[in-house]
């Protein structure tokens, strides 16, 4: 599926590093084990890093100012660690760049991703983008705080989404 942002298809300006090949020029996403290589590139070309679900994002603390993108991985849709990583990036590390979901999340998890601070999705799945749009729009109320600081509504912890 093409890159998704706010329920819509958007152009992807990022290139993923190819294993075994030198890093290209321009905006590139490197795996965590090539982060040093990415940081050592000449100039200020945009840099992103892709991390696996077992990474403690606090380890990225001092390089975050150099990063414009962090890609979090849903190795399977059942593995919800990427939600916690995204949330920690936003809430504890004040990361304001793009957080991209990669791997195999389900469209039914889209709203959860957005509320945890993920901004874009690039998946290996084949559904029509309308399924993702619908997943984004179908529920308009939530019952807990999130990184999006939605508008409070009524008694209790309720929020209006969107």
């Amino acid at each position: 599926m093409p890159l998704l942002e706010n329920g819509r298809i958007t152009e992807d300006r990022w290139t993923e590093a190819v294993e075994g090949a030198p890093l290209p020029d321009g905006a590139v996403i490197v795996p965590l084990d090539r982060l040093e290589e990415g940081l050592a590139r000449a100039g200020q070309a945009p840099l992103g890093v892709a991390i696996g679900p077992d990474v403690d994002v606090r380890e990225l603390h001092h390089v975050l100012p150099r990063l414009e993108l962090v890609a979090v991985t849903f190795a399977t849709f059942r593995d919800g660690r990427a939600f916690t990583q995204a949330r920690a990036l936003r809430e504890h590390l004040s990361f304001t760049g793009e957080i991209r979901a990669i791997g195999k999340p389900l469209p039914d998890q889209y709203e959860f991703m957005l509320r945890c601070g993920i901004t874009t999705v690039k998946t290996e799945r084949a559904e029509d983008v309308s399924v993702w749009q619908q997943a984004h729009e179908i529920i308009s109320i939530a019952y807990q705080p999130s990184t999006l600081h939605e508008r409070r509504e009524g008694p209790g912890l309720r929020r209006f989404l969107g």
């Binding site: 059942r78 504890h92 959860f112 529920i139 109320i141 705080p145 009524g154």
Partner: protein, 562 residues
């Protein structure tokens, strides 16, 4: 919505239009997911977590739908809707579970969106009754009524229900996550057998504080929860729970589903290291964002109806006279009522364990009767207990006998609460795809064997718990007598454990010896109970005698028939 408190349902949170909008959106979402599954756009593997999050299991013979009854509280109108669902979509009955929910065992996938819509009509749902998420929060069945209660835990149970509903971060946890909350010094929620157990009491400035137990559970690896934090201020409740579940989500094992519960993580890290991680997370959080403001709590509290407890001054005297005049009624009052905070009221436990019956099974007609009796006697309020019974929380003492007569007429007057007949059993191999053995027939045979009410009362308080496999849904580890079904070369055998308890004296039962063949199990338990009657001293309950004498004295009775 009217702001008039008198119009609010007693004992539970009143939905407003926003809550109803949310539920109808959720039903529409599930209808669309079912359509995608039927059209082949979702594989069964992908659909599974989505249907589980809506309470739908695929069991041995059919789909099973587990309906959420938040903290066990149900209105009469809701009970009637469940009866109607049982008639229309199931086989005229439902089943109360140990998590205070209701299960329907014979459901068709295609019908579920319609059933969920019918539930939504009465502000009910099946959200998070299954799946690797925060499950239905359970609570003291005598909440808001018990004489020994310090604080009504239902307000915070409702807050936690709302907070955990479609939680964006915690809906794909390593494994299921269960929270219980009590507001009484007498633990009736098995707080230390939960992923998180909360014990609330009044703190400074009239706001509650909480003791937080973590990492308890039954299942394959029974572990008693540890105290992680005491005197947690109310305003930090949501933040602290977020911190615990976040640590669990990040570090809980995902490679082996049998080692994925938080109890295993707490054991693996050690309590101190686990606490350090939670404290570190808690310290990093922006507490203003997560603060549970008193105004929020009071806003939720204002959505709960309060019963107008007015009774004649002589209500207790009239009950005493009724009891004197009728020995059978008197026995039922002794076994099936619980002291109320108001002197003119009592709480009634309706046994869903008739002699020789299936624990927790209730017919559609009985559901309607219970709904009518709740309307007539207890402000339309019904509670489902983790013992798989039903409570009417606020019954006037002078009207108790009248209620009892109606219950007896409906086959709901069994006087066995807390006694041998009050057996907890999982659905077992009659329904469940995980089970090794049939739990229900053992429960029925035991119940029939001890049907004599006088004998049961003489035996005294005794909890029997039966699980059909090591996943322990019948909580056998926590039974005074636990019975575990095992498979031995294709034959059903039953292993006995003794000395478990889920109360303040929490303990894990110990295996007494080799498993018994199915046809010898009930006789062995009967001999065990006979031995106890001989060995006990004045005033002892079974658990006391067992603790005084140990397993050896009972082993002979179980394995060496006279």
């Amino acid at each position: 919505m009217s702001a008039n408190t008198a119009s609010l349902p007693v004992g539970r949170y009143a939905y407003d239009q926003v809550d109803r909008t949310f539920l109808s959106q959720r039903v529409a979402q599930f209808r669309e997911q079912v359509n995608r599954r039927i059209a082949g756009h979702l594989t069964e593997d992908e659909f599974k977590p989505l249907r589980l999050m809506n309470g739908l299991y695929l069991q041995l013979h059919a789909y099973m739908l587990r309906v959420a009854i938040p903290y066990g509280m149900l209105g009469a109108d809701q009970m009637r809707a469940l009866a109607q669902i049982a008639r229309t979509y199931d086989r005229d009955y439902g089943h109360f579970t140990t998590r205070q929910n209701m299960q329907f065992n014979w459901i068709r996938l295609e019908d579920t969106p319609d059933i969920l819509e019918r539930l939504a009509d009465v502000d009910m749902h099946a959200i998070q009754t299954s799946g690797n998420c925060i499950r239905n929060v359970t609570c003291d069945e005598f909440a808001g009524a018990a004489a020994d209660e310090l604080l009504d835990p239902r307000i915070h149970a409702e807050i936690l229900r709302q907070w955990s509903t479609l939680h964006p971060e915690f809906t794909f946890l390593p494994r299921k996550f269960k929270i219980a909350i009590s507001g009484s010094p007498h633990d009736r929620v098995a707080a230390r057998f939960h992923d998180i157990g909360l014990v609330a009491r009044p703190g400074p400035q009239g706001r509650p504080v909480f003791d937080v137990f973590v990492g308890g559970g039954l299942g394959r690896t029974p572990i008693i929860g540890v105290l992680l934090r005491d005197n947690l201020p109310e305003e930090d409740l949501v933040a602290y729970l977020e911190a615990i579940v976040r640590v669990y989500n990040a570090y809980g094992r995902r490679d082996n589903m049998y080692k994925a519960r938080i109890k295993i993580l707490v054991q693996a890290l050690g309590v101190e290291a686990f606490r350090e991680k939670v404290d570190a997370e808690f310290a990093l959080m922006n507490r203003a964002d997560y603060r549970l403001d008193p105004a929020i709590v009071d806003g939720i509290r204002a959505r709960f109806g309060i019963p107008a407890l007015e009774a004649p001054a002589d209500a207790a005297d009239r009950l005493a006279a009724d009891r004197k005049a009728d020995a059978a009624f008197d026995r039922w009052v002794r076994t099936n009522t619980h002291p109320h905070r108001h002197p003119g009221f009592t709480s009634v436990v309706i046994s869903i364990k008739p002699d020789g019956g299936i624990p927790g099974d209730v017919t559609a007609d009985q559901m309607d009767v219970i709904a009518d009796l709740a309307d007539g006697w207890s402000f339309g309020e019904i509670r489902v207990t983790h013992m798989q019974n039903v409570v009417l929380g606020h019954v006037r003492k002078d009207r108790l006998r009248e209620l009892w007569l109606k219950l007896v007429a409906a086959g709901l007057g069994t006087p066995n609460i807390g006694l041998v007949g009050d057996i907890i059993a999982c659905p077992g191999l009659d329904y469940c795809s995980l089970a090794n053995a049939r739990s229900i027939p053992i429960a029925q045979k035991l119940s029939a064997r001890f049907a004599n009410a006088e004998l049961q009362e003489r035996i005294g308080k005794l909890h029997i718990n039966i699980s059909g496999c090591i996943n322990a849904c019948g909580h056998h580890h926590a039974g005074h007598i636990g019975i575990l079904g095992v498979d031995k070369r294709g034959e059903e055998f039953f292993q006995l454990t003794l000395g478990g308890s889920a109360s303040n004296d929490v303990a894990i039962g110990q295996i007494i010896g080799p498993a018994l063949p199915e046809d010898e199990t009930v006789d062995a338990i009967a001999r065990l109970i006979d031995a106890y009657l001989v060995l006990r001293t004045e005033g002892e309950q079974f658990i006391d005698t067992y603790r005084r004498l140990g397993a050896a004295s009972f082993k002979d009775a179980v394995y060496a028939p006279a």
